[in-house]
Every structure is written in structure tokens, then in C-alpha cells.
């Protein structure tokens, strides 16, 4: 980027600054012994052309929409179309959540995102004894297609895209969505959306797992294979760093483990015999936006650049779309505080800004009350408005990747990339991510980082306003509560569905799923048949638990 003589001059001028600085520091020292990011990465006081002297503009930065996509995946970025405002929502039963969906769409949300309650996430029905105490609390209760039909009442599936945060039963929820669309007269070729479907990060971090890693991967590849042919606008997987970060990882670990998971999925799909350019354009990603502003921006820029190299150089993908890392962002739940909860509005706004400056393709902003419960309507409205103000008032969407060329941001982007490659190489040496998980490697790395961070908070080495600094009492806020009658209604409906459906057909469908699970062959068509007959999620998952066995967590700490 700079010529020899320019750099020489910079070096000379820098010496003058360093001299002045030393004099000043001998009288008034800096505020802290070390300046670090939230991930404990040391940050210098000043970055200059010397810090990016190795950068080659066309190789490392380039142009938006062009390899290696450091500046974004689309040529026009937000000047063409703003990021999708997609608020993660699910509360009580499908009725309550349907109402929330309509409310958000009427207030300017541009995409849907379903939060399921724990039993659905884990492949249990609301009437399971494993669901005791959990129904409708952390998201919406969905047991059968009937619930999905209520959830999407009045929402045309050819007009909206839907993201579903669902993992072990992802294929089942996708099947329900396909059948629901079909009933609305919308072909599966037209529907658009995402299933999270990323089991590797479940073993690593989020821990909603069901089957062991290898059968889990098999079902994921079944969905990728099926959608590649039949549901071409569907994002078959959302390879997620969010949960890795929320479990306590550093930004570099989030970046590296997520991309290493991505590598494992690409390998698994290619082993099945799929052409990389057929399925890679439909892989999507999901990152956290934590509170350390520049570290996050650098992380997103580095993520795009690394993935582009991985796809082109390692997997020999030929289509530019296969090289693109498209991602959703959620602001960091773990950065929010129960103390002085209104401060969370401010944290979320900064985090949203980082995501947008990092070129996110869609965004969820957390609500101020989410350290307590699912957000109230009032709280979620502020969170959505936070995005709208960002998009339409601040001017940050006027130009593409405005921080490119910053000595600091480019240098930090390089540093994140280098450190992530170190981890990726290490995981490769272990034999790939599945083997690394079986050894507990990413799990231990995260537990270690989480513990280190907590010690720093406890020792006041890192500040959290309202927690270890500027502590004051705050009055309680009104929070959303699950009403017991919602659970009763859900159980009654499930009973009714089981009574009125064709149970002989259900049995037959489950038999087919069992056979295909044991003998191989793509499971998706069988799952679609089954959900059409109102087979429950648990009925299908019970078959899998029997055939494949259950995964239990070794509990590394």
C-alpha cells in the first residue's frame, strides 16, 4: 500500500511522536497497564502505515462483491438493499407467537425468525415428561404441523423469508415448512429461509444435542442434498459462531471454530458425492456481535476473507457465490446485564453498529429485558427501532465498508485472520472438527476463556457498567411471564391431533423413517410424508434415538 520512501518518512515521524509520548508518560502515565479487547487481545496506542505495510490492496482488501470479499459480498451492499431486520421471536404457544410475528412485520421487520421452546429444540413433545416446567418458556411450543399452521396464519410464505433456530430436529421443521407452503399453494422451489441445522456447534457450545456427531452429520447432509435439488432458495445450514461466543469464547475462537465447522460440513457433503458449487452457495453463517467494537468489525471482515480462500483454494469451488460468506448477526446476549437493564439498549445499539460496519446481511437486536425473560412487546419494539434508526438516520449505510483502509482496522483484520488460521491448522492436524470435538478440544478452549474472563470481571480488571462499576440499585422492570393456560391449551391440542389423525398412516411413516435411518437413503422425503400426517416431532426423534443412540456431554470444565 505504501512506497519504501513513504514508510521511511512515517518511521522518522513516528520516532518524534514516541519521544514526545515518553516524556508525557513519565509525568502522566496511561490509564491502564494494558489495553485489551474484551477477548484479551492487546491493542496498541496508535496504528500507522507501518502496521499494514504488508497489505496488498487487490489481494487483501479489494472490492465489494469480488473475491476475497473483505469489503462485503454484494457490489452495492446497503445502498442496494438494507440488511434484513430479523427479530428472533417465540413465546408461549403458536397463537402468541403468530401475534408477535404480525406485530413485528407491521412495525417494519423484514424477515421472520422462530425461537422454539426447549422441548421442540431437543426433540420432545409438550406432553413428554422431559418437557415438565419448560413448555412455552424459552420460545414457542411446536409439536406438529398443526402448530406450524397456527404459527403462520395470515403470513404468505412466498412473501417472507423465515429463519428457524433449530438443530437436532431441523429436518423435521423444514419438512413442516415445506408442507405448510404447499397447503398455501406455494411451491418448495419458491420458499426462502434458513434452518440453523448446525450440530457441531451444539456439541461445542449450545448443547441442544440429541444424536452422536456422526449420525447428526448424516442427517444434515441429507437436508443439504435434498434442498440442493428441491428447495433451491433455502439456506440449508447456518454455521454458527454466536453460541460459541456466548459460551465464553474469544472473538478469534468464535471465528476459527465456526469456519472449522464449516469446513467439516463441506467435507461431509462432498464425501456424499455432491458438487461443491451446487451446495456451497446455500451455506450461511451466524456470528455474535459482542461489545468490543473494532474487534467485531475486524472479525467479520476476516471471516469473509478466510472463507473465500477456504472455498476457492481448499475446496476448488469455481462459482463466486460459493466463495461468499453471507451471515446473520445477533447482538451479544452475554454482554447484557440484569443490573440497570435500560443500559442494555445502549449496548445493543453499539453492537448493532459494529455488525453493520462489518457488513452483516441480516441482524437481530436483543431487547433490554432479555437477561430476565423473553422480551415484552414494548422492549422488542425498542430493539427493532434501534436497527431502523441505524439504517435510516445515522448515515452509516450510505457507503460500503467505511472502515477499510484504517490502519487499525486493517491491521486487526489481519491479526484475527492469522490467529484463526492457527486454530484451523491445529484442528486439521487433529483430523478435523469431529475428531477435535471428540477430544473435547474446542469445549476446553472455550471453558478456559470463559473462566479467565469471569476472573477478570471479579478482579475488576475488566469493567461492566452496573455490575462491577457504577453500581446502583435499580427498580424492577416488568417482564414477560408464561401463563399456565397456554400449556394446557398446547397439551389439549396435541391430544386432539393424535386422536383425529390417521394413526395407521403415522405408524407406516415412522416405519419408513426407521428403515431409511438404518439402511441409508435420503431421509427428507420420508420426513415430509410423516409430518403431513401430523406425526409429532418426538415420534420421529424417538425413532432416531433408538436407531442412532443418544449423545451425552462429557461435561468438561
Amino acid at each position: 500500500m505504501f512506497k519504501e520512501d513513504q514508510l521511511k518518512k512515517v518511521g522518522e515521524e513516528k520516532k518524534r511522536w514516541v519521544d514526545d509520548l515518553s516524556k508525557m508518560l513519565s509525568e502522566t502515565p496511561e490509564r491502564l497497564p494494558r489495553f485489551t479487547t474484551v477477548s484479551d487481545l492487546e491493542i496498541k496506542g496508535l496504528y500507522t502505515p507501518e502496521d499494514i505495510k504488508g497489505i496488498d490492496h487487490s489481494r487483501d482488501i479489494g472490492f465489494p462483491g469480488i473475491y476475497p470479499f473483505t469489503r462485503g459480498v454484494q457490489p452495492s451492499m446497503y445502498r442496494g438493499r438494507l440488511w434484513t431486520m430479523r427479530m428472533f421471536s417465540g413465546l408461549g404457544g403458536p397463537e402468541e407467537t403468530n401475534q408477535r410475528f404480525h406485530y413485528l412485520l407491521n412495525h417494519g421487520e423484514t424477515g421472520l425468525s422462530i425461537a422454539f421452546h426447549y422441548p421442540t429444540l431437543m426433540g420432545y413433545d409438550s406432553d413428554s415428561h422431559n418437557a415438565r416446567g419448560e413448555v412455552g418458556k424459552c420460545g414457542v411450543a411446536i409439536d406438529t404441523l398443526k402448530d406450524m399452521e397456527i404459527l403462520f396464519e395470515g403470513i404468505p410464505l412466498d412473501k417472507v423469508t423465515t429463519s428457524m433456530t433449530i438443530n437436532p430436529p431441523a429436518s423435521i421443521l423444514l419438512a413442516m415448512y415445506i408442507v405448510m407452503a404447499e397447503k398455501q399453494g406455494v411451491s418448495k422451489k419458491e420458499i426462502g429461509g434458513t434452518i440453523q441445522n448446525d450440530m457441531l456447534k451444539e456439541f461445542i457450545a449450545q448443547k441442544t444435542f440429541m444424536l452422536p456427531p456422526r449420525p447428526s452429520l448424516r442427517i444434515i447432509v441429507d437436508t443439504i442434498e435434498y434442498c440442493t435439488k428441491e428447495v433451491p432458495r433455502w439456506n440449508t445450514i447456518s454455521i454458527s459462531g454466536y453460541h460459541i461466543r456466548e459460551a465464553g469464547s474469544t472473538a478469534v475462537q468464535e471465528l476459527a471454530f465456526t469456519l472449522a465447522d464449516g469446513i467439516a460440513y463441506v467435507e461431509a457433503a462432498m464425501e456424499r458425492g455432491l458438487d461443491v458449487d451446487d451446495f456451497a452457495p446455500r451455506l450461511s453463517f451466524f456470528f455474535d456481535s459482542h461489545i468490543d467494537f473494532f474487534e467485531e468489525i475486524a472479525k467479520y471482515r476476516a471471516a469473509r476473507r478466510i472463507w473465500a480462500k477456504v472455498m476457492r483454494e481448499r475446496f476448488m469451488a469455481k462459482k463466486p457465490r460459493s466463495w461468499m460468506l453471507r451471515f446473520h448477526t445477533q447482538t451479544a446476549g452475554c454482554s447484557l446485564t440484569a443490573q440497570q437493564p435500560f443500559n442494555n439498549v445502549v449496548r445493543t445499539a453499539y453492537e448493532a453498529l459494529a455488525a453493520v460496519l462489518g457488513g452483516t446481511n441480516s441482524l437481530h437486536t436483543n431487547s433490554l429485558d432479555e437477561t430476565y425473560a423473553i422480551p415484552t412487546e414494548e422492549a422488542v419494539t425498542i430493539a427493532l427501532r434501534t436497527q431502523q434508526i441505524l439504517a435510516e438516520e445515522t448515515g452509516v449505510a450510505n457507503t460500503i465498508d467505511p472502515l477499510a483502509g484504517s490502519y487499525f482496522v486493517e491491521s486487526l483484520t489481519n491479526e484475527m485472520e492469522e490467529k484463526a488460521w492457527d486454530y484451523i491448522r491445529k484442528i486439521d492436524e487433529m483430523g478435523g472438527m469431529v475428531k477435535a470435538i471428540e477430544r473435547g478440544f474446542p469445549q476446553m478452549e472455550i471453558a478456559e476463556a470463559a473462566y479467565r474472563f469471569q476472573k477478570q470481571i471479579d478482579a475488576n480488571e475488566k469493567a461492566t457498567v452496573g455490575v462491577n462499576k457504577y453500581v446502583t440499585d435499580h427498580p424492577p422492570i416488568t417482564i414477560w411471564r408464561m401463563r399456565p393456560e397456554i400449556e394446557e391449551r398446547q397439551l389439549k391440542r396435541l391430544q386432539e391431533v393424535k386422536r383425529t389423525r390417521n394413526n395407521a398412516k403415522v405408524k407406516e411413516c415412522l416405519g419408513e423413517i426407521r428403515k431409511a435411518s438404518q439402511n441409508g437413503g435420503n431421509l427428507m422425503p420420508h420426513i415430509i410424508h410423516a409430518v403431513r400426517e401430523y406425526t409429532t416431532i418426538q415420534e420421529i426423534c424417538d425413532v432416531w434415538r433408538e436407531v442412532f443412540g443418544r449423545y451425552t456431554d462429557p461435561g468438561y470444565f
Binding site: K137, T208, A373, A447, A450, P476
Partner: protein, 135 residues
């Protein structure tokens, strides 16, 4: 049993909740403080937790729950301990527990509830002062 026996704590993750960051931090913090710590791992039913507590002969059970199922799970664990005649095992916990639920849970026999903002040191201190190795 010798009077120097270390305090034995079972850290448990009940229900379907997968948020284990807090449980693992506290397990490690307790271990570093010199307690003997057994961590159940995830997705334990109240029955499994009580069975593990009795089998491991612990002095206290720390339940970590962030899914909102606390109002069912805490009383259930305490009830089962009573049934097994093991109600001298202290039950405490932490997680996302709204203020107004804390009183009710304490009424049902939960000894302490640690909410966000608690330091490891505070939790360790509470255990030292309130849980003694059982005879």
C-alpha cells in the same frame, strides 16, 4: 468421617437447558477454592440429580438453570431429597431467576440463589459459611 473432610458439592444442570457457561465456571471456581466438585453434565432430570447426590454423598447441590423451569425443578429436587431421607443436603442455585420467584423458592427450601453479577468469591464464601461436611 474425619473433621478435615473437604466440602463435597454436586453442580447440576437440570432440565433441557443447555446454558452451561455459569455451571462450569462455578464448578471450576469451587474446585480452585478447595471443594470437591462433581459436575453432572447436562440435561439431568430431578430424579437423576437426587440419585447422583446421594450416591456421591455430597454436602450440597448447586442447580444452575437459565430456561425458566426453576419453579418446577427446584421444589421437585427438594421434594425428592425429602422422600429419600436426604434433606440434610443443602440445595442452592443460580441462573436467570426473577426477583419475585426468589422468595417462593426460598420458602420451598432453597438455601440461596445467586443471580447475575455474583462473583465466584461470593459464592465460595457462602458455601464455606453455610455448608458443612455432613457427618
Amino acid at each position: 468421617m474425619s473433621p478435615e473432610r473437604k466440602i463435597r458439592i454436586l453442580i447440576a444442570k437440570p432440565g433441557l437447558d443447555g446454558h452451561d457457561r455459569g455451571a462450569k465456571i462455578i464448578a471450576r471456581g469451587f474446585r480452585d477454592a478447595g471443594f470437591e466438585v462433581i459436575y453432572t453434565g447436562l440435561h439431568q432430570t430431578p430424579e437423576q440429580i437426587v440419585a447422583a447426590a446421594i450416591q456421591e454423598d455430597v454436602d450440597g447441590i448447586g442447580l444452575s438453570i437459565l430456561s425458566g423451569a426453576h419453579d418446577y425443578i427446584f421444589p421437585q429436587v427438594i421434594e425428592l431429597l425429602k422422600e429419600k431421607g436426604a434433606n440434610d443436603i443443602a440445595v442452592f442455585g443460580g441462573g436467570i431467576i426473577p426477583e419475585e420467584d426468589i422468595l417462593a423458592l426460598k420458602g420451598s427450601g432453597v438455601k440461596a440463589l445467586f443471580v447475575p453479577g455474583t462473583t465466584i468469591e461470593e459464592a465460595v464464601k457462602w458455601v464455606r459459611e453455610n455448608i458443612k461436611p455432613r457427618k
